[in-house]
Amino acid sequence: MAVSPVVTHEATSNVKVTAAKAKSLAVRTNSFPHKTEAPPEKKQGGQELAERLNHETKEKYVKDKKLGEGTYAIVYLGHLKADPLSKVAIKKIKVNTEYRDGLSMDAIREVKYLQELSHPNIIALHAVFSSKNQNLNLVLEFLPLGDLEMLIKDSEGIRYGTAEVKAWMGMLGRAVWFCHENFVLHRDIKPNNLFIAADGEVKLADFGLARSFSDPYRPMTYQVITRWYRPPELLYGARFYSGAVDVWSMGTVFAELILRVPFLAGNTDIHQLELICQAVGTPTEEIWPGVSKLEGYVGYEKASIVPVRGKDFYLARFGTAGPVGVDLLMSMLALDPRKRSTARQMLEHRWWTSDPRPTAKVDLPRKGGGLEKMGDDLKRRGGEVEDGRGNKVARKLNFGATK
């Protein structure tokens, strides 16, 4: 039984549904329609049930203007045909043009996980349909206020403090906790994958690199998570890892929200490790038993070892978060993934209940120009960054190793 440390939006009253009742609910909710609303016979003749359902879904939405286009996807603003005032984002994935092995892994991952995860802090996938040309269309929740990266970068125009950071981090933490509770690793948490809804709610998006927890002894690829947010175990080539990788990413996002610049912006994987050693401490056998057995681990000269940074060091840099906030940050940036806090422990930290209270959603700072930003963000492929020369290479390697 999972006790949610959060107030969730639904499913509270019907906790005690028995198996039998669950079954009867299934009848009601499973939605293969019978041939009742029979559309015009002539056109529908020879069309199978699945084809018809797809057609019906497609007919429900109207594409309006194009918001952005990349090699991987085109993003449109759209609305429900039945409700012209509604707004949705339609991401059309170009299935045929690029990839000869059929539906690409990114598209599959994104659709697979968004279909399963429904949570107020995860971008909602309203529907999926294919258009005539076999392109996949994802009807996504419309999130017009851009992403967290925009707000962090605009240090002139946007002012915020600890209460706002607490609100944003809380929403991020709940999203990630929910993913892990469903045995899903996101593997690409970073500010520009955190969209902002019209009401200020933060929504985790881009599940192009997500995967289910591996079975014991089944290796995974370490070529995931955008470098600046990548934890040391992945930089050392760990093939067995856990939700702790996402928690590290959240820690670096937390730090970035406070600093208003990326916390550990390495140019290469080696440089990234150097930055981690400087800012957090050097991973050694003493503080992280077993680290030297990781494939990519590099030994460090005694003289160059940076001891794990203490609270004072963090307070000097992240003092605005207060001593309790710094304590949380440190627990998320523990080098040894086994000692790092879990998403759940993070949400149970006393920082959330100590002053100041998190800012209410509606009072969070916001910024215009989010519409284009959503188009820009969505057209990307999972794990892809627009600038930065190293990333394209990493992506390439990642494809081969993707398992």
């Binding site: 107030v7 198996a19 499973n30 003749g45 020369r389």
Partner: protein
């Protein structure tokens, strides 16, 4: 503080929302699918006849002959056979259990809304397995996948993928009972060695639970001696585990279990099947003595265990093979002629797609841009410094 139970989470899954049925709704869906497929074949055959007639006007063509369509039962047998073939092929490729199990469920889900009369399972099978390698994180390149197939080409594998994903209603997640069984196995071992958790409802201590297990009646032959020691109990659990595991790899996949029961009901039923006294003890250890929920659960487990027992064996007998041959022969005459060439249909749809607002110039320009980017990416040092957007 809201409580979110595992049941609540399961109810949000697509497996529950779209792919769970009652026996009645499942069979009525299959009937509908069968009927509309037959309608489709009839219309296609009639259409063919009509064109033939108009081309040779003077010939004396008789009205459309009555076609003998497949029954729902025959469709089921045929799909079942190809599910077994899928499993064998997955084993041949050395794919892990989750890939194999997902591929089989993809086929079963696909044939809820499609009939073999429209799309032959033989042609859907490679595509289902290939898609499962992708969705279960066991990606194998199409090239190497095809090299393991005896006859098919890359196009044969990819062409039906679109139809398949549409039939799956773009839901790719399948929740399997395998992991649950492993968890239960570990839990049972802990109980057997006196390290289990005491029952919060009845207050039975770990040591009491352990003793209780030692005293359990044996699986078969009631007269036989009981297990006398903890070691013997451990051996008993291991036996039950391997028997249950085998069942989850075969009949749990081949029957309608996934459509009718939850993953945890399925693995508990497999334990029920393997060692009923042990399964009953395990369930008792989790519930208070009397609970309406427990009796509901036991009823569900018993019917599910019966279903698991009913499965066709993985190696069809001669009489079954004979029957399958008969069905396939019958199918030859009632296949939808418009849907046989999947590769051709796929190509035509893609061609249509290109008229979708993209003119040749744009396509060519994009292709060049992409190739340039790819070329740059191949350079191990990455693209030149300061170069953005390929300019």
């Amino acid at each position: 503080m809201a409580i979110l139970t595992e049941d609540d989470l399961y109810r949000t899954s697509t497996q529950y929302r779209l792919w769970s049925f009652t026996r009645e709704s499942l069979s009525s869906l299959r009937c509908t699918t069968n009927e509309s497929a037959a309608d489709g074949v009839r219309a296609a055959l009639y259409g063919q006849k009509a064109t033939e007639q108009s081309s040779k006007q003077d010939s004396n063509v008789s009205p459309t002959p009555e076609v003998d369509y497949l029954s729902v039962d025959e469709e089921q047998k045929l799909v079942g056979y190809y599910c077994i073939q899928t499993m064998k092929f997955a084993d041949f490729c050395d794919f892990p259990t989750n890939v194999k199990a997902t591929a089989v469920q993809y086929l079963k889900r696909f044939y809820l809304s499609n009939s073999p009369m429209t799309y032959h399972p033989k042609e859907m099978m490679p595509s289902a397995l290939f898609l499962a390698t992708k969705t279960e994180n066991h990606y194998t390149s199409l090239e190497s996948f095809v090299s393991m197939l005896p006859k098919a080409t890359a196009e044969d594998v990819v062409a039906p993928e679109f139809l398949l994903t549409q039939g799956l209603r773009f839901t790719f997640d399948v929740r399997h009972p395998h992991r649950g069984l492993e968890g239960g196995f570990m839990d049972l071992l802990a109980l057997a060695t006196g390290k289990g958790q005491s029952n919060p409802k009845t207050g039975a201590s770990p040591a009491q639970l352990q003793q209780h297990m030692i005293d359990l009646e044996p699986v078969t032959d009631r007269g036989k001696k009981m297990s006398r020691s903890a070691e013997e109990v451990v051996r008993r659990i291991q036996n039950a585990h391997s028997k249950a595991k085998e069942l989850l790899k075969t009949s749990a996949l081949l029957t309608d279990a996934y459509f009718l029961y939850t993953p945890s009901q399925i693995w508990l039923s497999s334990l029920f099947f393997a060692d009923e006294p042990l399964a009953r003890f395990y369930i008792d250890s989790k519930f208070p003595t009397q609970s309406p929920l427990k009796s509901t659960l036991l009823t569900a487990l018993q019917t599910c265990a019966t279903l698991l027992r009913s499965s066709a064996s993985a190696d069809p007998e001669d009489s079954e093979v004979k029957e399958l041959k008969r069905i396939d022969k019958k199918l030859y005459k009632c296949r939808n002629p418009e849907k046989i060439d999947l590769v051709g249909i796929n190509k035509a749809q893609k061609r249509e797609g290109h008229e979708d607002g993209l003119d040749e110039k744009v396509i060519k320009k994009r292709k060049m841009e992409r190739e340039k980017l790819e070329k740059e990416a191949e350079d191990i040092f990455g693209p030149a410094l300061g170069v953005k957007d390929g300019k």
